[in-house]
């Protein structure tokens, strides 16, 4: 893969997005390297989804600058979309299409990419090829959704809370798929509010709160920055980092 932008897969500077009086994103900046798995971590309402949707070109920021793969949304949208894989948080795929039909549909939008059969194998849904989407389990639906995002052999994969609501086994299965995508040189940006997910998958994480990054580093470094664990038996986690920074729990119910 050629490096046309100094190893930067995508970056944004000074992003601002307001909804009426609410400031969802407040001057946020990020730069993610090629081949990196980067996590946006934060509670609900922190601005993670707004940020990722601005990067995906689905939302226009009120202020700030976005560049993905050296291209810009206002000039190169179609070329850019051919090279990105996007999975949205709330998408429900059509109930009455089969797994294969759904994948074929998404595959048809891309000028390059894998065969549908390969995609099915990658996400371990070969056995469900002829099943209606409505008959799939939550984990299977999510894997199909990721397969649709992988249909064009993207350079960058954007995933918004890919494992929310899944059982532990389904989550691990999805992590495996993402790790294989990275092994092939892909770049991933994912949002999550699961600490363990960020620790397992991400090279670096940005902890987002109230529309801005309050900490950014490798998970291990962030945890180490806490200093000595207060309790011997307790292993430091990103949850502790967030608490130390904000005095609140990451998954606190609002």
């Amino acid at each position: 893969m050629t490096d046309r932008s100094n190893g930067i897969a995508f970056q944004c500077t000074g992003l601002v997005k307001r909804y009426g009086d609410v400031v969802a994103v407040n001057g946020l900046s990020l730069a993610v390297h090629r081949g990196e798995c980067f996590g946006l971590l934060g509670p609900n309402g922190a601005g993670k989804t707004t940020t990722i949707e601005i990067l995906e070109g689905l939302l226009a920021p009120d202020a700030g600058h976005v560049e993905v793969l050296g291209l810009r949304w206002d000039r190169d949208e179609h070329a850019l979309r051919q090279r990105l894989g996007i999975q949205l948080q709330e998408t429900q795929l059509a109930d009455k299409l089969t797994v294969e039909e759904t994948l074929k549909l998404f595959r048809s939008f891309y000028t390059r990419g894998r065969d549908v059969t390969d995609l099915l194998r990658m996400v371990e849904l070969e056995g469900k090829r002829k099943s209606w989407v409505s008959k799939l389990s939550g984990g299977q639906k999510q894997r199909l959704s990721v397969a649709c995002a992988l249909a064009g052999s993207p350079d960058v994969l954007f995933l918004d809370e890919p494992t929310t609501g899944l059982d532990p086994q389904s989550r691990r299965q999805l992590w495996g798929i993402l790790n294989r995508f990275r092994a092939d040189g892909g770049t991933i940006l994912l949002t999550t509010h699961y600490m363990d997910e960020a620790e397992v998958l991400c090279d670096r994480v940005a902890i987002v709160d109230q529309g801005n990054v309050i900490a950014l580093d490798a998970p291990k470094t962030l945890i180490a920055s806490l200093g000595e664990p207060k309790v011997i038996t307790h292993h430091g986690t990103l949850e502790d980092v967030f608490m130390a920074l904000t005095g609140r729990h990451l998954r606190e119910e609002q």
């Binding site: 689905l58 179609h78 996007i86 009455k96 595959r107 249909a151």
Partner: protein
């Protein structure tokens, strides 16, 4: 271009839409079975009027028996005795077209607003006067002519087919789009390199493919089972059906261009469909509306479609002779479509 086992996006999008339609049994019922059930019911409720007897009520009173005897003689009259209290109800429900009150002379009770009742008065009056000894100056000879396609059901079926075309176009397209929007599927597709024009084109294309069975099944049933005539050319029929579906597809697109909930789209579509159901002459001739509202009635796309279908099917009209109707359909096809494209909400 290699697409990894997939076809062109327009093909895949159209196939996806068609599969969704054919996997929805309710949609098939409304499109195929409903027009047939409706025609059968109408054929039974409104039999060919030529041999329908005149239903006459005779008030139960002194002299009723002799009146009954006279009326029974006439082959075209079915008389029955009614008690005075039941008269109003029998007239209202159409159980009898007229009530004869015995007397010298007798009294006729009927509603002059009903054509059947006015005819019944002539028939009864004629029978009674003849029995009373009226001499005829002459007797005309009747030549009975049965014009094919003059039955109500022959006239109704093309109207039902037209209504089906419009309903499927507007409801079908509007609902599928709003559903995709609600499920964030529209947003997901826009996040992919899919061309937006491909999506909209596929909606219309899938609708066109669905049109074939939707028009063919009721018309074939009508022709071969009910005996509805088919005077026009198949090409003209196809042209008119496609024009009707394309035209109202634009309306469906416009209705769905902003709506985010089923409640919103249901209200919107009902608002569009209801005036057409009432005013477009599906069940009774649109010419019955007063002249003041005729411009409005004639401008409705369903009126233009139903008139065109009847002209082609029942009269064998050429496309040139229905150019006015086709122009109305074209206008409805273009204007809402252009507006829809401008205001369409993809998220």
């Amino acid at each position: 271009m290699s697409r990894g086992g997939a076809s062109h996006p327009i093909v895949e999008l159209s196939l996806a839409r068609l599969r969704e339609i054919f996997r929805e049994p309710e949609a098939l019922f409304w499109a195929f079975v409903f027009p047939i059930l409706m025609s059968v019911a109408m054929a039974m409720a409104f039999p060919s009027s030529s041999n329908a007897p005149t239903r006459v009520g005779v008030r139960q009173a002194a002299g009723a028996d002799s009146l009954m005897a006279i009326l029974v003689e006439s082959k075209t009259i079915t008389p029955r005795l009614v008690v005075a209290e039941a008269e109003a109800r029998a007239l209202r429900d159409g159980d009898v077209d007229i009530v004869v009150v015995p007397g010298t002379p007798p009294t006729y009770r009927y509603d002059p607003a009903r054509a059947e009742s006015r005819a019944a008065r002539l028939v009864v009056d004629d029978a009674l006067k003849r029995a009373a000894g009226r001499t005829e100056p002459w007797t005309a000879s009747d030549q009975l002519v049965s014009v094919p396609g003059s039955r109500y059901v022959d006239w109704l079926l093309p109207g039902l087919v037209g209504m089906g075309i419009v309903a499927t176009s507007v409801w079908g397209i509007a609902f599928s789009i709003v559903q995709a929007r609600m499920r964030k599927l529209l947003k997901r597709m826009v996040a992919s390199p899919m061309r937006r024009s491909h999506y909209l084109l596929a909606q219309v294309l899938a609708r066109m493919l669905f049109l074939l069975p939707e028009v063919a099944i009721p018309l074939l049933f009508g022709h071969y089972v009910i005996g509805m005539p088919m005077h026009g050319s198949i090409a003209a029929l196809v042209f008119v059906s496609v024009a009707g579906a394309l035209s109202t597809g634009g309306i469906g697109l416009l209705a769905a261009s902003r709506a985010k909930t089923f409640e919103a789209i249901s209200g919107m579509v009902n608002l569009i469909m209801l005036p057409m159901w009432i005013a477009s002459g599906v069940f009774f001739s649109a010419s019955r509306f007063p002249a003041a509202v005729q411009p409005f009635v004639q401008a409705l796309p369903l009126t233009a479609l139903v008139d065109s279908l009847r002209a082609v099917i029942l009269e064998g009209a050429s496309l040139a002779s229905i150019a006015g109707e086709l122009a109305i359909l074209a206008a409805w096809g273009v204007i809402p479509f252009v507006i829809a494209l401008r205001i369409f909400r993809w998220r």
